[in-house]
């Protein structure tokens, strides 16, 4: 009986004693926390200082006793909701700050707070704090950054993208943490990147652990295939020939983060090679460096009609006057990101050129026979230039953008003091803007390109009609594979122009999304584009071809394209019909063009 009374008394007293003990511990911890908060936030607390009597597995009332390394938000930072309680959305019907125990929803026992739950039968909610958003901010002092899982990529390459330094206050809510993770994924060196924290050597200190899973970094940048109409070395037209181009790069050379790439373009009796490197952080700085080696063994085709060539062997006629030339050289550049959307580059280029072409050649230009200007020095010559480029890119997607800008401004000068045989200056502006239309996710793009060259630029540095018209193959690695003139839909003297020093193009593209996915195929869009362009050399302005009158003396033409753009896990593909349509004999002709 006595034992039973004792048991009953114990049963009544024990919970209250437990509660009192818990409250005592809580108050003690709160006082200690107050002391800890009075110290600088970066100063680590001694191990177990905050809860000296508390085992690690069972922190006593942690909600009321924020960890030593956690900081309470200043009162001024507290949201107004806590000052004037907003409408209660907890379903309690009670003002903010009321214990969860009073909610009509029954709570489960607090098995997840073992110390509190086992020590006292108090409801779990009693131990909870009720505060405004971000009342507790978890911060530590960063003791180190550890990179794991990198077998090829050097740790310093990974750390290049992580802005946190040893000794920094590390706020787990800092958006820079997630951004850094995406930066690392964006390099393409890794298939997966995960950040985590582990304890440092003393309380309040942590080590940031970066786990990476590397991926294949050999990438296929570009593949091009097409058909063209060219001529043999004597300028005689040949049936359709095929051309192809391939661009491959290792983007993480020996784990250094340096890109080493090569590209090749091949057609019958012509080829071009490129080798390039890019160091995104030269000597660990924020400057980028790049270099390119090039070799072209190619030919180009001049003259539209009634070509006559004069060589020591005699006079001959053919479909084109051919320039056979070789280019060998390279460039070095330095660049820098001016902002997340802006990049600046400065490039110096030095090339040796060896060109061979008829001693003299003439063509029927309009109704008059005129000499052909090959725009290149016969034999050996040197090209030395300095080029500055400013890029601005705010597109939301690289292949199927729906909004944003992509603009580029470039200026280039031939450097005579550096023994260049070509003195010229060139300025280019290219700007595109995408609009997401309010109906059915359609997209509209407008593009404006304009460029001007003054001086004596070699022909391969001048503007090429194939780069402006979609109906002709554009140049690949600086080589033009096609000898045909522009389609000339407007009946202007554009048909007489192959290379020019002044160019513009204004075009629009309308895209209709057909499919959106997330795995193998990200998107397929039907697109149609149309535009107008102009191309002229000095002679086209000062002395237009005879036979053209009025507006037809302005070398303008229309261009357009139709096809599908497909963004896939294997890359972006364009299935366009303009290149093929360019062979359909629907082109207009000038007075003598194309005859």
């Amino acid at each position: 009986m006595t034992r039973s009374l004792h048991r009953s008394a114990f049963a009544i007293v024990a919970p209250w004693f437990g509660c009192a003990l818990a409250i005592t511990l809580t108050v003690t911890s709160a006082v200690q926390t107050a002391y800890a908060q009075a110290a600088p936030s970066t100063a680590p607390a001694a191990p177990d200082q905050a809860n000296p009597t508390q085992p690690k597995e069972a922190p006593a009332a942690p909600a009321k006793t924020p960890p030593a390394s956690s900081e309470a938000t200043k009162p001024s930072d507290a949201p107004k909701a806590t000052e004037a309680p907003a409408a209660d959305t907890w379903g309690t019907g009670e003002p903010e700050g009321k214990s969860e125990a009073s909610t009509p929803v029954p709570q489960k026992p607090s098995e997840d707070l073992p110390s509190a739950g086992k020590a006292c039968p108090c409801p779990e909610g009693v131990l909870e704090t009720h505060a405004g958003p971000a009342a507790l901010r978890v911060r530590y002092t960063l003791e180190g950054v550890e990179v794991r899982g990198n077998t090829r990529t050097r740790a310093r390459v990974v750390l290049r993208y992580v802005p946190f330094k040893i000794g920094d206050v590390f706020d787990v809510d800092d958006p820079e943490v997630e951004l850094s993770r995406y930066r690392l994924l964006g390099t393409g060196f890794f298939r997966d990147v995960q950040f985590s924290l582990r304890k440092g050597s003393s309380r309040g200190f942590v080590v940031l652990v970066i786990d990476v899973v590397e991926r294949n970094t050999i990438v296929l940048n570009d593949v091009r295939m097409g058909i063209s109409a060219d001529a043999d070395s004597q300028g005689n037209a040949r049936p359709l020939t095929a051309y192809a181009g391939l661009d491959v790069a290792e983007t993480n050379l020996l784990g250094t983060g340096i890109t080493l790439g090569s590209a090749v373009a091949v057609a019958q009796d012509e080829y071009a090679l490129r080798v390039r490197f890019l160091d995104p952080a030269f000597l660990g700085s924020s400057w980028m460096t790049s270099g390119t080696l090039l070799y072209n063994d190619a030919r180009d085709f001049f003259g539209i009609a009634d070509i006559e060539k004069f060589d020591p062997s005699g006079t001959s006629s053919s479909n084109s006057a051919v320039v056979n030339y070789k280019r060998f050289g390279g460039s070095l550049g330095v660049g820098r990101d001016l902002s997340i959307a802006t990049q600046f580059w400065l490039n110096y280029r030095l090339e040796s050129i060896d060109a061979d072409y008829p001693l003299e050649a003439s063509q029927m230009r309009g109704f008059r026979t005129e000499p052909i200007d090959f725009a290149i020095v016969r034999g050996r010559s040197v090209l030395s230039t300095l080029r500055a480029t400013l890029d601005y890119d705010t597109r939301d997607q690289p292949f199927l953008p729906t909004r944003g800008w992509k603009a580029s401004f470039g200026a280039e000068v031939g450097l005579l003091p550096a023994a260049s045989d070509y003195e010229y200056q060139r300025i280019d502006v290219d700007a595109s803007h995408w609009w997401h239309l309010p109906w059915h996710d359609h997209v509209l793009r407008l593009e404006l390109f304009a460029g001007a060259i003054s001086g004596d630029a070699p022909f391969f540095e001048q503007y090429y009609v194939g780069d402006l018209s979609d109906f002709l193959p554009s140049r690949v690695l600086g080589v033009s594979f096609d000898r045909r003139p522009a389609p000339n839909f407007l009946g202007t003297d554009i048909v007489e122009v192959r290379y020019g020093k002044y160019a513009f193009k204004f075009s629009g593209e309308y895209r209709i999304p057909l499919f959106r996915g997330r795995r193998s195929i990200y998107g397929i869009d039907l697109f149609a584009s149309a535009g107008i362009y102009g191309l002229a050399g000095d002679r086209d302005i000062t002395s237009p071809p005879v036979g053209y009158k009025g507006w037809s003396q302005i070398p303008l033409d229309l261009t357009g394209n139709l096809g599908f753009r497909m963004d896939t896990s294997a890359g972006g593909f364009v299935f366009a019909f303009s290149n093929a349509l360019g062979f359909v004999p629907i082109r207009g002709k000038g007075p003598a063009g194309g005859q």
Binding site: T89, G93, G261
Partner: protein
């Protein structure tokens, strides 16, 4: 003249060849479109709408409608392991209440739960935010996290001015894990599109996406997302003041 005739003849042959090539190109494009339909089927996992059990309570005294919803399965083993990495994990529920058979929302509600493992306290700081209020608590177990974040109890979902009485209702919405804010998403996409560290190819090059697009497409609005709907139910009516 002879060469001119010969060239014209070659031109006609070229025209025929081109017609054939054009047809081949069309066929290729159609094949691509055809294969995309298969891809659409593959891609449907995130777009699937899951039917979840829910419960509505209507407080006749205050005229407020409350929602109970469980989604513990969203926190799978992989996500549970991430909970203790020391960095915040956020689980967001957004839902709208509809009259049965209607697609016009009557009201909306949301709950955000942020879980941060404190590496020194070895406890989870759980911050649950509902419109107008925030509640923080600590727990040492994943079960505690699940109970706070994946069991939504008594979430205010509407009031008498929005919800007609004695009408079957259902809720529909989505659950997101680690959603990315539109601003950060835009910043990330720009960064990823032009990572200065790669310098592989200019965006717009034919196969630029092999590299970047592959990753770019994975950057969705959230690390994980699930759309859900519930069955239409009549709310249980109770009187809070009487209790």
């Amino acid at each position: 003249m002879v060469s001119s005739v010969a060239e014209r003849s070659r031109g006609k042959r070229a025209g025929t060849e081109l017609f054939v090539r054009l047809m081949l190109a069309c066929a290729l494009a159609c094949a691509a479109l055809g294969s995309s339909r298969v891809a659409r089927a593959d891609d449907s996992s995130e777009d699937d709408v899951v039917t979840r059990e829910a419960h509505f309570d209507y407080d006749a005294d205050t005229g407020l409608l409350y929602l109970d919803l469980l989604f513990r399965d969203i926190v799978d083993a992989n996500l549970q392991s991430k909970l203790s990495r020391g960095l915040p994990t956020t689980i967001v529920l957004t839902a709208a209440v509809y009259r049965a058979g209607s697609s016009t929302p009557l009201s909306t509600t949301a709950q955000t739960c942020k879980v941060t493992w404190h590496v020194w306290e070895e406890a989870y700081l759980v911050e649950v935010m509902r419109p107008g209020s925030t509640r923080q608590s600590w727990t040492t177990t994943v079960e505690g996290v699940l109970r706070r974040c994946a069991e939504v109890r008594h979430l205010l979902a509407g009031d008498a001015t929005q919800i007609p009485s004695a009408t079957p209702l259902f809720a529909a919405g989505k659950i997101q894990v680690n959603p990315v804010s539109p601003e950060l998403l835009q910043k990330i996409k720009r960064w990823v599109m032009r990572p200065s560290a790669t310098g592989t190819a200019a965006p717009g090059d034919a196969l630029f996406s092999t590299f970047t697009g592959l990753f770019l497409q994975r950057i969705g609005d959230a690390e994980r997302q699930q759309k859900f709907t519930t069955k239409a139910l009549l709310p249980s009516v109770y009187h809070s003041k009487a209790q």
